[in-house]
């Protein structure tokens, strides 16, 4: 078991490192002229500088060093929680992020929880409903939810609940009320994704012969659904929890922009607009870390929830057939 845990942790760290490296490569190797990009972010025209000034700038951004040196510098920095300095705002990136991550985490976690509840309820009802039209309708609802672009959902909610009904504020992050519409906007997508996966899994599970065994015992439909189908259907769906959390984080970019909430998502949007490379690198790294962490937790919990997977010692073998005198 310890070997399994250690293995998983090492794997998670490796993936995170690789994700950081890939993002670094995209941001620092892809642009034809990194200097121009970074000067633009800092609000300076490259042409307006004297050669001396240019050299000084280069040194400031670390562009006078080789790419490996820059990479090493960033990597060691990240390990110490130092993501460098924002080009457009001239403050440490880590300060920018820590000031905003609380709001985004609240948003993400609430949305993840709401979509867990809404998504599983929808999937449960869609597979439990016996009246065929209702079943078909409930099965199609998630496709609907996944088709609406989030900015559309957000704008629709604002138009209806803020401007028409005046129930919730259209913008800002003051108080719990301002959280409602952003969370709902994100959950429309994530709960639809979850429900689609769960419905598929439920359908597969319900056609398994052991469900027939359970029904043949005389268990009620709801007992079979809850005690036999639910767990077996939910287990494979657990693997998308990481994707789901990833979705809530990326959704925060659009949602925070539309609802003008301060958060990492809006920071990401602003820094891409101003091509603030260190901030973009930091945001991507933080998001990847969250994704990797959730996946790690799922991986570690999975063996506890699924008895078939035991990582103690190789694979479990079926006991040999025992001959009994009858």
């Amino acid at each position: 078991m310890t070997r399994y845990i250690v293995g998983r942790v090492i794997q998670a760290v490796a993936v995170l490192w690789a994700a950081f490296t890939l993002t670094f490569a995209i941001l620092y190797l892809l642009p034809s002229d990194p200097m121009e990009l970074q000067l633009a972010a800092a609000g300076v025209q490259e042409d307006s500088l004297t050669p001396d000034q240019l050299a000084a700038m280069k040194q400031r951004f670390g562009l006078d060093q080789s790419i490996w040196a820059q990479y090493w510098h960033h990597l060691t920095g990240v390990l110490h929680g130092d993501f460098g300095t924002s080009l457009s705002q001239q403050v440490p990136v880590s300060d920018l992020i820590t000031a905003r991550i609380g709001g985004t985490l609240t948003l993400s976690v609430s949305a993840a929880l709401l979509s867990l509840v809404a998504g599983s309820t929808l999937a449960y009802l869609a597979t439990f409903a016996r009246w065929n039209p209702l079943r078909v309708f409930l099965t199609r609802v998630p496709a609907l939810g996944a088709s609406f672009p989030q900015f559309f959902v957000a704008l629709f909610l604002i138009q209806f609940f803020s401007f028409q009904l005046g129930w919730f504020p259209a913008t800002g992050n003051q108080g719990g009320k301002s959280l409602v519409m952003p969370v709902v906007t994100i959950s429309v997508l994530t709960s639809s994704v979850l429900a689609q996966v769960l419905i598929k899994s439920f359908d597969e599970t319900l056609s398994q012969p052991y469900i027939a065994t359970a029904r043949a015992k005389g268990l009620s439909r709801s007992a079979v659904h809850l005690k036999h189908a639910f767990r077996n259907a939910a287990l494979p769906a657990m693997t998308i929890l990481g994707v789901l959390v990833g979705l809530t984080v990326t959704s925060s970019i659009v949602v925070e922009t539309v609802f003008t909430r301060e958060g990492v998502g809006k920071l990401a949007q602003e820094s891409v607009l101003s091509q603030d490379v260190p901030v973009v690198l930091a945001v991507v790294t933080v998001a990847a870390a969250m994704f990797v962490l959730v996946n790690l937790i799922v991986d570690l919990l999975y063996p506890l929830l699924d008895p078939r997977i035991s990582h103690t010692r190789g694979r479990v073998r079926p006991a040999p057939e025992v001959v009994t005198a009858t």
């Binding site: 690789a18 994700a19 496709a143 629709f156 604002i158 990326t250 922009t257 891409v272």
Partner: protein, 296 residues
């Protein structure tokens, strides 16, 4: 609940005197599709949008950039299907003229995803072993960066515009294609008919081209249609966030973002183009679902 043991093992074949074969099979499938009204509706709508992307003049006589201050911010009506914006430009026309950019970006993104995803998936699934392990770890890494953020980093590096956005979105959906293709190739590779072909002396090249690819293609195609919708949303989102084509060219996302400021007074500026996009994605979604049911 569809439990209980099924009693249907198909032992009754098609009678010898009935027409069979590929053409009859195709015909039967088409008839089945034609009987689904929602599918037809979705197909027509998607077709309409794609055609409008290349020939917008077919569906509107107005100019997308001509301003009519006297007809500013008119609500949707007979003359202006989607109303007019604050400069009096016809919104319906603007939406249609926004199609080319978004549709082309979607096609570029899908092409990238298909070529790279199929390539990686086939290589990984077909060769297996260490090649597979290395490629799939690579895919894991790509998956670890949430799609939109990966796209944003690429946009940061490449700059704004339709092509960078298309490239960014394309790269972001590569992992899904690679995984699906690999899984299919792995599944088909071990099927008895592949073994039978090998035993019959067929080379791996032939087995790959004639057996594995045609039989792996179905789920990949279904995913491609579904991902076309995903790509449209992603591209619209990126242009909504302000990373798309520069004004006055108007991608759908940009139109919606501009209309945002007039939500109180002219709701249609944002919501109607949004609905237009949503219906397109919904249509693609439905087509993908129907195809999936058909191939099963």
């Amino acid at each position: 609940m569809s439990t209980a043991v099924a009693d249907v093992v198909v032992e009754d074949a098609l009678p010898a005197d009935e027409p069979g074969g590929r053409r009859a099979n195709l015909a039967a499938n088409l008839v089945q599709l034609a009987r689904k009204p929602v599918f037809l509706l979705a197909g027509l709508y998607v077709l309409f949008v794609v055609v409008s992307a290349f020939r917008p003049k077919l569906f509107t006589a107005q100019d997308p950039y001509e301003t009519h201050p006297e007809a500013a911010a008119q609500a949707p009506g007979v003359h202006h299907l989607f109303g007019t914006d604050i400069y009096g430009r016809d919104l319906w026309t603007r939406v249609l003229y926004g199609s080319p950019l978004t549709i082309k970006a979607t096609l570029i993104a899908l092409a990238i995803a298909l070529v790279a995803g199929l390539g990686l998936g086939i290589v990984a699934g077909f060769f297996g072993g260490i090649v597979d392990a290395v490629l799939m770890r690579g895919i894991d890494v790509l998956l670890a960066i949430p799609g939109l953020l990966l796209a944003l980093s690429i946009v940061t590096a490449l700059g704004y515009g339709t092509v960078p956005v298309a490239v960014a979105v394309g790269v972001a959906i590569v992992p899904g294609f690679a995984r699906t293709t690999r899984a299919e190739v792995l599944r088909v590779k071990t099927l008895p008919y592949v073994e039978a072909a090998r035993a019959g002396g067929a080379s791996w090249g032939r087995v790959l081209l004639r057996h594995i690819l045609p039989n792996s293609w179905g789920p990949v195609a279904v995913l491609a249609v579904l991902d076309a919708g995903v790509a449209i949303i992603a591209i619209a989102s990126l242009s909504f966030l302000g990373f798309g084509a520069a004004p006055p060219a108007a991608e759908w996302g940009t139109l919606i973002a501009d209309g945002r400021n007039y939500l109180v007074t002219a709701w249609w500026l944002s919501l109607l183009p949004g609905l237009f996009v949503a219906l397109l994605v919904l249509g693609l979604n439905h087509i993908s679902k129907t195809l999936q049911e058909l191939t099963r």
